[in-house]
């Protein structure tokens, strides 16, 4: 039982220690890893747990980022209040758009989520008077208590992301989380045990969007600005890459994937501009050689890492 918390706790301790060891540039990279990790983990609630590929998840990330950006720049709302409001706005947006998406499955679900994602992108891109259009929003400054150095904002991000990840973990292990696995495995049977599958998918879509919104909210103050590209379909592809790299069948897979992807990107772009080509090759290798992602490979090689199934405990009594 205790064993399964070893890895996440070790990761958390490492995350606390790292900023004191690595140079400031890498603290920025670590902050990005955390933000994108939460984004990818929220994406995996739909992909890994519910079994549907959403290719428009950046829309909710972007709505969260713009909510915080606009509130901070135009209304001086404190960041701590912006975070829940960003979750709320992303959730509301998903409540409307997701209503239509969950009527579809598979490739049609992916295409509709992507289309809605692009819709959000173009609205933000065109609405100059409100969102700043393609100029984005500048001057999103973290609150004074976080100072100007890299470390304080990193630790703030670490706390928020940790809380977000714990919340997602609790949801994924709840009866609702298991209902998502059931829908992924066999949506038809799930209807015949008396569950309104569409409604549950809709709820999960909203939950996933809220945490994407939370991740997005952390981005603006980190980057001091937000741009419409945050909602674009390329940005929706990032959690897909990260999750596939890290392993969609592990709760921490997306976070690990974010670490690999973001670090590689920071490393590779320091000496060549051909990052997209490098990332493309990596994706091809991962998909061909590691269908369970990195964590899937590690679990195969080292069975003790495998999460002991909760049901076994129940069944042994």
């Amino acid at each position: 039982m205790k064993n399964k918390y070893l890895f996440p706790v070790a990761l958390f301790l490492l995350a606390i220690a790292l900023p004191y060891i690595v140079p400031e540039f890498w603290v920025h990279v670590l902050t990005e890893i955390l933000i994108m990790g939460l984004f990818a983990a929220s994406f995996n609630m739909v992909f890994g747990y519910m079994g549907q590929l959403t290719f428009g998840h950046a829309a909710y990330y972007g709505v969260g980022a713009y909510t915080t950006g606009l509130l901070m720049v135009k209304a001086n709302v404190p960041l701590l209040l912006c975070l829940p409001l960003s979750m709320l706005s992303a959730g509301l947006c998903a409540a409307v758009l997701g209503y239509f998406c969950v009527k579809l499955r598979g490739i049609y679900f992916a295409i509709l989520t992507m289309a809605f994602g692009q819709l959000v992108y173009y609205i933000i891109f065109q609405w100059y008077s409100f969102t700043g259009g393609d100029n984005g929003l500048q001057g999103i400054v973290p609150p004074a208590f976080l100072g100007k150095a890299a470390n304080p904002y990193y630790f703030f991000t670490l706390i928020v992301v940790a809380i977000g990840m714990i919340a997602l973990w609790i949801i994924s292990e709840s009866p609702f989380g298991y209902t998502m696995r059931a829908i992924r495995d066999n949506a038809e049977r799930t209807e015949f045990i008396g569950i309104n599958v569409q409604r549950y998918m809709h709820l999960n879509f909203i939950i996933a969007a809220m945490f994407a919104g939370l991740a997005g909210a952390l981005w603006g103050p980190f980057n001091r600005s937000v741009a419409p590209d945050l909602c674009n379909w390329q940005h929706s592809g990032m959690p897909v890459f990260m999750t596939v790299m890290g392993g969609p069948f592990n709760f921490l897979g997306p976070l690990i994937g974010s670490a690999i992807y973001t670090m590689l990107m920071a490393f590779v772009t320091s000496f060549t501009e051909y990052w997209p080509m490098v990332s493309g090759i990596i994706i091809i290798l991962v998909v061909l050689l590691l269908p369970g992602g990195l964590l899937g490979l590690l679990e195969d090689k080292f069975p003790f890492l495998r999460r002991k199934d909760d049901s076994e405990k129940g069944a042994e009594e």
Binding site: F176, Y178, A182, D185, T190, E191, I193, L203, D309
Partner: protein, 256 residues
């Protein structure tokens, strides 16, 4: 008044002039059927007679083209599937329809959590819930040795048992079993049908099943209907149907 109520409730399932066609191909032309509370009834018919379609219409899997379905005096025609399940009709599928990537235990627990309306709970860890009921049902259906295995790797017979367990988890009043013993050994068949019989006797569960195995039908069904070319052509006790000439020609004749 009380008598009138009794009359309505006596028939747990009442089907009137049910019609279904797929494109030009008419599967059920005109099926009327009723099932009394506490009855075990079987439906037989050659392949393609419309048995599975009949179940699919009752449980909302397919859209009903014409006619009505009443369950416990309420019309449930074309209700969504989950609502029909909630109303008290569970079904076990002919080809086992389970959660291949969850363990046997998790499969059954999922169905029990659904019945207990706990599936919207996002805070409590699932492993703390419904453990007792899940183990009881696993024991009842003879799946105890397989409880930790992934359902996808179970034998055909065990998958059918799990299929039955998922159906029973819904605490139904009416259980529809589509060839419940297909793929089972003769001992497993016996065990399963004895369980069905016991549930019928002890909690008054009404059961409607389709079956190819004549010995199962004659051993367990109180009532037998023959479905042929989309219509019920004979109905009665298994003995009566056996003597019915038309039914013999259409179906039983093949076997004798």
């Amino acid at each position: 008044m009380a008598r009138a109520m009794d009359n309505i409730c006596e028939n747990i399932l009442k089907i009137d002039r049910l019609k279904k066609s797929f494109g030009k191909y008419s599967v059920l032309t005109d099926v009327s059927y009723s099932l009394r509370k506490g009855e075990i009834a079987a439906i037989i018919g050659p392949n393609g007679a419309g048995k599975s379609t009949f179940f699919n219409l009752i449980t909302g899997y397919h859209h009903v083209d014409g006619g009505t379905v009443h369950f416990l005096g309420r019309e449930i025609t074309n209700w969504p599937r989950h609502r029909i399940a909630r109303a008290g009709i569970s079904r076990a599928f002919q080809v086992s329809n389970i959660y291949a990537r969850l363990t046997t235990f998790e499969n059954v627990r999922q169905a029990i959590l659904a019945q207990e309306k706990r599936t919207l709970d996002i805070f409590t860890p699932a492993h703390r819930l419904a453990e007792k009921n899940t183990l009881e049902l696993i024991d009842l259906t003879g799946l105890m040795p397989n409880r930790k295995h992934l359902a996808g790797i179970l034998s055909q017979g065990d998958k059918k048992k799990l299929e039955l367990a998922l159906a029973l988890a819904g605490k139904p009043e009416l259980l529809l079993l589509d060839e419940p013993t297909a793929g089972m050994s003769s001992e497993e068949t016996q065990e399963t049908m004895e369980l069905v019989k016991r549930l019928n006797r002890e909690i008054g569960l009404s059961i409607l099943f389709t079956e190819h195995d004549i010995s199962v039908i004659f051993g367990y069904a109180h009532k037998l209907s023959v479905l042929y070319q989309g219509m019920v052509i004979a109905e009665g006790t298994p003995e009566e149907v056996r003597k019915n000439e038309e039914a013999q020609q259409c179906y039983l004749g093949e076997e004798v």
